[in-house]
């Protein structure tokens, strides 16, 4: 436990992603099974046991310390677990001599799983006696379920993969079939065993993403190499169906990050009758018309999925791509072949809830530009409002995880929109003074070779009252530090909130660290579905700024 605690302690202070990876990989290398497996489970949120309540921890410390000294200490430190970890009275040397060695992480995890509620306080006290300050801190964070150290599940898996010079993608693919303490995974990573087989009948496949295209890019691209389709303004999902035990059909709906969102869309699941994996966009379609994102948002905002909600907001899947068909993985096939398979697959399904995203025919970039400017007359018809832009896909491109440079491009209609990450929040004024309603957001850039967020603006409006409540709750639950009225909100590649920011224009600014200032920025949408790593980059803003200055000069 002490070694794991040391790792958590170090990770909590290390800002750099690559350095975090190095620290975690080093831990996996030095730590034997099954401890490292339980550590991986702890870091990926895969441990399950009943968490201890803060009240229990308070009772334990109250029985051992002077209340005034505890109050002064808690006031100074500001965090219950940390205060208790630091002031827990250490057993005198003489007693410590007879004590068993400190518990391992495995001891802690396996014991917690079995332990009855009434035995927990005494067991926790025994462990606290046996551990050092850092060990006690980590133990308390673990048992209270409050381990926030800026490490995402993805990062932990990447670090494990690095142990065997493997890609995180490889681990991700087999992950759904694995369980703590992951002996088979580590055996494979260390070259001692075959790759574990993913027995999940409906696994998630990492999603392929597109780069934003810039005017200059067109000169290097040949229009005949590409197919185009509308970029629909919904939620990107992966709908997977597979055969489970005894030939039962297993269906799952995943978000773009692999989160299982099946439960939120029970009305779609029966439509996924054939084994396969569809990459598509989730939309609300009423009477054959695609509704705007705002309508979809209203459905997403509701926690309870009632029959009324499903009737009012009929869910629809518009298919972009087919990643597997039956038992066949299609991802290595070129896009045009996958497209043919997709057409046949959708036709065979013959289901009103699932259709094909139509192609946008074009012979030249000029024609496509015209279609993008007026989707209604270019085939989108009445659905044009739900068109966000066009997607360009190389006809020969395989389906690659992540955001490879070149095969896929997105060409948005409104250039004055970016995805930024919420970094800091501050209380508002007047009737908003009890809410965190002033937001500072940032975009990615490389500083000294390390990906970091740099603030690019502040927004105070654009969101609905409902959304304000949601952001406020998010801010309060995800504050990493407080400086006077300002809260630092978690903003890691895999943790945080992406805000779609609309603005009127850009200017150079020496006052901003980023060098650019936005005119009239406002929050146009909350992107709960998007991980921060996929937010925009400062370079995108700089290019926008350049083309903006150019167009002003032109006019």
């Amino acid at each position: 436990m002490n070694r794991f605690a040391e790792l958590l302690d170090r990770l909590a202070y290390e800002p750099g992603r690559n350095n975090k990876l190095r620290l975690i990989t080093a831990y996996f290398r030095e730590t034997p099974d099954p401890d490292r497996g339980y550590a991986l489970a702890a870091l990926t949120g895969a441990l399950s046991f009943k968490h201890a309540k803060a009240g229990l921890i308070r009772d334990l410390i109250a029985a051992r310390t002077d209340p005034t000294l505890f109050a002064l200490s808690y006031d100074y430190v500001g965090d219950l677990s940390e205060t208790v970890a630091l002031m827990w009275p250490s057993a005198p040397m003489r007693e410590r001599h007879n004590n068993p060695p400190p518990p391992t992480l495995t001891d802690v995890v396996t014991t917690l799983r079995m332990l009855g509620k009434t035995e927990l306080p005494a067991q926790l006290a025994r462990w606290l006696d046996q551990l050092d300050e850092t060990g006690r801190w980590a133990l308390l964070k673990l048992v209270t379920g409050a381990m926030r150290i800026g490490v995402s599940a993805r990062l932990a898996k990447t670090a494990a993969a690095a142990l065997g010079d493997k890609d995180a993608h490889d681990v991700e693919l087999i992950w759904p079939g694995l369980a703590p303490p992951y002996l088979d995974l580590f055996a494979w990573l260390e070259g001692r065993a075959e790759k574990p087989v993913n027995r999940d009948p409906a696994p998630f496949r990492p999603v392929m993403l597109a780069h934003a295209i810039e005017d200059a890019d067109f000169a290097t691209l040949n229009a005949t190499d590409f197919a185009a389709e509308w970029k629909w303004d919904g939620i990107r999902v992966q709908a997977v169906s597979g055969r489970g035990e005894h030939d039962s059909v297993v269906t799952r709906l995943y978000s773009r990050t692999g989160e299982d969102v099946t439960k939120s869309f029970p009305d779609l699941m029966p439509s996924l009758r054939f084994p396969g994996a569809i990459d598509g966009e989730l939309l609300v379609v009423r009477d054959g018309r695609v509704q705007s994102f705002n309508v979809l948002q209203q459905r997403l905002n509701r926690k309870a999925v009632t029959p009324k909600l499903m009737k009012e907001f009929p869910i629809h899947l518009r298919a972009y791509d087919l990643l597997s068909d039956g038992d066949n993985d299609l991802r290595e096939l070129p896009f045009k072949e996958r497209r043919e398979r997709l057409k046949a697959f959708i036709a065979a399904l013959d289901d009103p809830r699932i259709d094909l995203s139509p192609e946008v025919p074009f012979a030249s970039w000029g024609e496509l530009k015209a279609a993008r400017a007026d989707p209604a007359s270019a085939g989108a018809g009445a659905d044009a409002e739900a068109v966000e832009g066009v997607m360009l896909k190389r006809r020969d491109s395989p389906y690659l995880p992540g955001r490879p440079q070149g095969p896929w491009w997105k060409w948005k209609r409104d250039p004055h929109i970016i995805d930024a990450v919420l970094m800091y929040a501050q209380r508002g004024h007047g009737k908003r003074s009890s809410y965190y309603s002033d937001y500072t957001f940032g975009v990615w850039t490389a500083i000294n070779g390390e990906e970091q967020l740099v603030p690019v603006g502040k927004a105070y409006f654009g969101f609905t009252d409902e959304e304000l409540l949601q952001i406020d709750r998010f801010v309060r639950r995800n504050t990493t530090e407080t400086f006077g009225p300002v809260r630092h909100v978690v903003h890691e590649p895999d943790q945080g909130l992406v805000l779609e920011i609309a603005f009127e224009g850009l200017q150079r600014s020496a006052r901003h660290k980023s060098g650019v200032a936005m005119r009239f920025p406002r929050i146009s949408r909350l992107r709960w579905d998007k991980p921060p790593r996929e937010a925009d980059r400062l370079e995108t803003l700089e290019r926008m700024l350049k083309s903006e200055t150019a167009s002003i000069a032109d006019s």
Partner: protein, 348 residues
């Protein structure tokens, strides 16, 4: 005579009327007894200064030859008669030359301990318990959450990081007088024998430690080193330097900070420290309470720091305790480091 007729807190510091002197005065006075060389305790401009030889030397290094009218070096254990009182110096274990001052009048003895710690430090004489009636204690880390643990284990943490990140430089913020030399000595004890690099502001004091026979191994100025050559090395610098532009000369530096404050996460994060090292030259909570108990003093006066908790604790132990409202003392880590001694490049 009652204890507070012997020693009394006034605006200038702790005043001994029957002896005609002040201890660690914060304003210029005729006669001062200085416990140790840290700048909040040892200030220039007094008429006569009594201190250990090391403290006098360190003051001279910092303030120049004319830092006082006259000086008198007092050895540990030596008794000096001043007016109606007898004054003896005892090791405080804080930094090189640090002393507790025992003031005896008739049958009453008061010990002003200055800054102290009761744990091992290879760079100075070990703390000595002086039985007394009134013990004046600091309270820099006077909260039960401050448990400094084993300094050697913290240094091991630093060296493990150096091994894990051989392409990065490790920059250790440490106060220039005492902490830096102790950290270097601990690094050597841990078996690290490569050269250790120093910020310019640490040169003189560190050389002085070496001249007093404290083995610190090979030390080099960091000034003039090529960035790439600093990969895999350890550099010590004043805490203030580790957070400014100066750090750009290092390849992807890991910023460490050796201080008792590093025990509390919010403090470490506030400073942007990546590798907090809990190494303190002040007694931690256990050290403070242990020392108070062993002096046998029935009355405890608590100065600079977290007085409330310590005064409360004394009460629970049946000891009379009161806070001394002395101003002008801090802990050296919490403040910006003293400016570089003259003759050195500013901000080097």
């Amino acid at each position: 005579m009652r204890p507070h007729d012997i020693l009394m807190p006034v605006a200038a510091g702790l005043c001994c009327k029957p002896g005609g002197f002040y201890i660690d005065p914060v304003r210029a006075v005729d006669r001062a007894i200085i416990t140790h060389g840290h700048s909040d305790h040892a200030r220039p401009g007094h008429g006569a200064v009594l201190a250990t030889q090391e403290t006098l030397d360190l003051m001279r290094l910092r303030y120049g030859d004319n830092f006082a009218g006259t000086t008198q070096a007092v050895a540990y254990g030596e008794t000096v008669r001043l007016g109606d009182v007898a004054v003896t110096f005892h090791p405080a274990g804080h930094v090189l030359g640090s002393a507790q001052i025992a003031v005896t009048h008739g049958s009453t003895r008061i010990v002003a301990s200055g800054d102290y710690k009761d744990v091992r430090d290879p760079t100075c004489a070990p703390f000595e318990v002086v039985p007394c009636d009134v013990f004046i204690t600091e309270a820099t880390f006077g909260l039960p959450v401050f448990r400094h643990g084993d300094a050697a284990a913290e240094v091991k943490k630093l060296l493990a990081s150096v091994a894990l990140f051989p392409e990065r430089a490790h920059l250790v913020g440490a106060y220039s007088l005492g902490k830096a030399q102790r950290v270097i000595a601990l690094i050597r004890e841990a078996g690290y024998d490569a050269p250790i690099y120093l910020h310019g502001a640490m040169d003189k004091i560190t050389s002085y430690y070496q001249s007093r026979g404290i083995a610190l191994g090979e030390l080099r100025p960091v000034k003039g080193m090529k960035k790439a050559d600093l990969a895999g090395t350890v550099t010590l610098a004043p805490p203030s330097a580790t957070s400014d532009l100066w750090t750009r000369r290092f390849p992807d530096p890991v910023t460490a900070f050796a201080s008792g404050w590093m025990r509390v996460r919010a403090r470490a994060r506030q400073r942007g420290v990546e590798l907090p090292l809990v190494i303190s030259d002040h007694a931690d909570w256990d050290g403070l309470t242990r020392t108070i108990a062993t002096t046998g003093a029935g009355e405890i006066w608590v100065t600079h720091g977290q007085e409330d908790a310590l005064v409360h604790w004394c009460g629970t132990q049946g000891l009379t305790a009161r806070p001394l409202a002395l101003v002008g003392y801090g802990d050296e880590d919490g403040e910006e480091d003293a400016p570089a001694p003259s003759g050195e490049e500013a901000g080097a």
